[in-house]
Assembly symmetry: C2
Homo-oligomer: 595 residues x 2
């Protein structure tokens, strides 16, 4: 077996043409074995086995610099740069992250996980090389799906501006996570259909020397192409046609499902079921939106290349013109949403928390400054969301809640969530974001009739004394458990508050707490710094009541265990109760009186 | 005079061809008269007089929807839509803002001030029209300078994707604020040089029907072109060559200086001097950076199309390859900076606070997550900065200071600032942002020898008791004045603190305050919510000390008077002193003892 002998790219370079093909086959087999058992980005990596082997054969990493866009297609690169065991030995599957990671290897330049950054990073790396008067190749690999992001275009422009060696590989498998959207994809199709000869070549229009390769899964042709441009003294763009999921027929046939996923059967291509489908916050959202759209042609859902966030392929088809996928282009998604709202549509932008942060300026300047009634549904905003350091959902409260005009809502159960969503869609005064709850669907069975136009009105779900506990969104449940423990074990009936609004304070309520409370505790499912709790602490800073804010530390937590992280942050029922007891004045008489 | 009779676009439509030319001349004369006296975006508006008259002649606003990118070129549009008096009568010059503004007129759809948003907004407006089955033209006007922004590219892509009527006018005056940078500009030049016939047309590559007009300051030709595409059932792009500053020779000759500015002489084209040049934080920055660059080829300054932030045209030329203008592309500026830092260069990105917010994800994901030692110089971050609602510099502390790894520094004088900048450039461990001070240069005459690698170490500049006042950056001076007033008038020697770091707390110092202080006051030059002070309030929430945070309200304050806004926010020496006195325990004996 060649693969096990590859400890560095050096060993790749020593193989003959025939041996390289054997290596390709072994690498693909190991990849399939691992992703079928362990999950991961299957399709993108299957498509670039040949390309990655050829890159390491021709170029000289780490002297030559490789930068993979998003880097979810870097598995083969990892196999060939000293990390093969993480793909051949199940005991070591967890040794590597799913993205490039400088802590793993000098062959990985950056921690990456968001799209469309590779060209700008490469432009910086190349410019630094030039300033230092050094001499090597800078190679960026970007998928066609990532080309819809404006940052990729800015990168292309500036690579031409700098004008020295940078080799851009466009890995064109004619697929984003789902199908592609936007004018650029018509150009890529024209170029594929004409073997690179079509008129009005997008890349040439920006000034690139352009080469097309139809057989992007042919290692010999790839090597020939790379050798022909290696050490160029100017920017070169290689448009390479690959097949997403290549070498595994189920992945080739179903490219959307085989973008990424959990374990699957190599025999049938079926993902291993995790039991029967149950209603979730996602399905509840989809149900409400589909119903709304059926009854009102002005309701429209906008999405930025992550359609699985809400709808299946069939649902999207059925929604027709009321579902808009703008490609991976979060800035456009937000600004288009603002335009839709201005002209009387009722737009809902569904986005993962980690990708929403790409649109800070558009949320502030285009939506919020203009007071436009668009709705942002923020998914996976939780310590319990994605847990890779490049995909965290814990920064959205500091980011969104301090933007003027924007109403940020944090529901605690299904009824509340759907009532907020319905209100947001039908009102015309406020930009609204909703922090979609994480975890199992919680149903109260009682419709929520709150008037959400009464901004910042919190709900007191239990009136008590001494301690008031504010449980934000997902962590209302934790607040409830703390209150119960205080009551049953310590005879303290605490005040329990569901704030619902996290972009402003219920000042009247907070003022009233001073009278008969020693302590206010806030619990939120995200980072502590800049969060909701700190606005409470500030407001109560000169009042006669203490405040304790709970949240996780301001860090890029990586592949963490959520319960462990929460416990480290002091967020267990027991620890919170103990800290409350240490900060309230509880005489035995008080306790007896309550009991 | 025709101009005075134009109360709405209706009156424009009634003019003959010859009368239109008279209107053009009158409008240009009024424009010149106003901007020469009052200041404003002179060059951009001089260039679009004919285009704007022709737009209102051919199209039917507000039924047809006009969206101006950045909207600093909307003065003529304002003249023709009921706001002529704001340009013809000096007493009414202040009636209108410098950007489109829906509160002024139904002909203005959006409040805009950042670039590259118009196409995405137009895409949303057009899509809403389609959902409602309505029928009219959506017309977006975007300058060539704004085309470097990735959002513009995302907009172009998605206009093609939607596929219905949208008329994109590219107003190509071959100039951004300064010269253009990036591959797209070579394409625009090729198209201009070939009367629109060049191969590899960027716009056609994305799928646009494309028309070129060389004589973009000829009202008759403009009308002909607009009439030919009006009511098209598909996207159309009009590439129109105009002359920035047209009709005022000094502006035509010096297009960078005549992008925008204060009053100038119509006779000589000289800006009215505001006295002899004195050293400023800008000139001090430029001096240090020029010196650094001369001595180290790895030092490089990155800028996103706003070069006047630091350097003159001559200085930029002299800096050669160590000065990089990426065009108006803030995301790229940040991500390229990350790439530069990774490969051993010493990059400094100089940016205005209001535009920095376009790069939240790039700061977080590309620079901070990767621990890269790039430096961000944040200019105009102050209540005393730009005061238009679309250009505020008061949101950067909430935005930046809660991003992990990033060290955000707030100097209070020249020596501190330059020491921080020098440290940041030469260190290799941290991403660093520095809040460049606003206002007059303050010099202590004593070199700052602080070791800024000791993160979060505050400086206690006066040790006292009862009240501790933390003055952040620009507002350290205010804290000092409050301390002096407390001392001289009320016999209280307060503790005075210069935190220097605003992305983390000096916990040891804060802990020590509990012993002999009743109150901690924070003063910061920005929005209260999410700011530095709130992290202090949170940290001290369960300590035996009260906290009062000062900052301005979370609002898009518009064309405000800074001293008035600060006073409304309670930030005058007198008001702060009174509030401190009400919250500390001051016996007469205490006061006498100190006096």
């Amino acid at each position: 077996m060649f693969l096990e002998k590859i400890k560095s790219p050096k060993e790749v370079k020593e193989l003959s043409g025939q041996e390289l093909q054997v290596l390709v086959d072994e690498a693909r087999a190991a990849l399939l074995e691992k992703v079928s058992q362990y999950g991961g980005h299957n399709g993108p990596n299957l498509g670039v086995v040949e390309m990655t082997v050829a890159m390491h054969y021709v170029f000289d990493s780490p002297k030559d610099k490789f930068i993979f866009d998003v880097s979810h297609q870097s598995y083969i690169h990892k196999m060939l740069t000293g990390r093969g065991q993480a793909f051949t030995d199940p005991d070591h599957y967890e040794d590597v992250s799913g993205y490039t990671n400088p802590q793993e290897s000098e062959h990985d330049l950056f921690t990456i996980g968001h799209t469309s950054t590779s060209l700008s990073l490469a432009n910086g790396v190349a410019k630094a090389r030039d300033l230092k008067a050094e001499d090597y190749n800078v190679v960026a690999v970007i998928g066609d799906g990532s080309l819809s992001g404006g940052l990729a275009y800015e990168g292309l422009n500036n690579i031409i501006e700098v004008g020295t060696n940078t080799i851009v590989i466009v890995n064109d498998n004619d697929q984003s996570i789902a199908e592609n959207h936007g004018g650029i994809y018509k150009n890529l199709k024209n170029l594929r259909d004409s073997n690179g000869q079509a008129e009005d070549n997008f890349f040439k229009s920006l000034g690139f020397e352009y080469h097309y390769l139809e057989e992007g899964n042919n290692v010999e042709q790839l090597i020939g192409l790379f050798e022909s441009v290696k050490d160029a003294d100017h920017p070169v763009l290689l448009h390479i046609h690959t097949i997403k999921g290549f070498g595994f027929k189920y992945a080739e046939e179903n490219r959307e499902d085989f973008h990424a996923g959990g374990p699957f059967s190599l025999e049938t291509g079926e993902y291993l079921s995790s039991g029967p489908a149950v209603p979730t916050y996602t399905s509840a959202t989809a149900d409400l939106l589909i119903d709304k759209m059926a009854n009102d042609p002005k309701v429209v859902v906008v999405n930025g290349g992550t359609p699985m966030i809400l709808f299946s392929q069939e649902q999207r088809k059925a929604l027709g013109k009321q579902y808009v996928d703008v490609g991976i282009a979060e800035e456009h998604a937000m600004t288009m949403t603002a335009g839709l709202a201005k002209n009387g549509a009722k737009p809902i932008w569904a986005v993962f928390s980690t990708f929403m942060q790409r649109s800070y300026d558009q949320i502030s300047h285009d939506l919020a400054l203009n007071h436009l009634p668009g709705t942002i549904l923020v998914f996976m905003a939780s310590v319990n969301g994605m847990n890779d350091e490049s995909h965290l959902g814990i920064f959205d409260i500091p980011m969104l809640s301090h933007i003027p005009n924007l109403v940020y809502l944090a529901p605690t159960n299904k009824e509340e969530y759907l009532a907020m969503l319905d209100w947001s869609i039908e009102q015309s005064d406020h930009p609204v974001a909703i922090r979609v709850p994480m975890g199992e669907l919680k149903e109260t069975g009682v419709a929520d009739t709150t008037d959400y136009s009464q901004r910042y009105k919190n709900e007191v779900t239990q009136k008590g004394a001494k301690a008031a506990i504010i449980g934000v969104g997902n962590f209302y449940q934790l607040a409830l458990e703390v209150a119960e423990e205080l009551s049953t074990k310590h005879g303290i009936k605490a005040t329990l508050i569901n704030p619902k609004f996290i972009s402003g304070l219920d000042q009247e309520l907070l003022d009233s707490l001073e009278n008969n409370h020693d302590l206010v505790v806030t619990l939120e499912d995200g980072v502590l710094e800049g969060g909701y709790g700190q606005t409470v602490a500030s407001y109560l800073g000169d009042k006669d009541v203490k405040v304790i804010n709970y949240g996780v530390d301001k860090l890029f937590h990586d592949r963490y265990d959520a319960p462990e992280l929460l416990s480290q942050s002091g967020m267990s029922v027991d620890k919170i109760v103990q800290r409350i007891l240490a900060n309230v004045d509880v005489s035995l008489a008080d306790q007896l009186a309550i009991i």
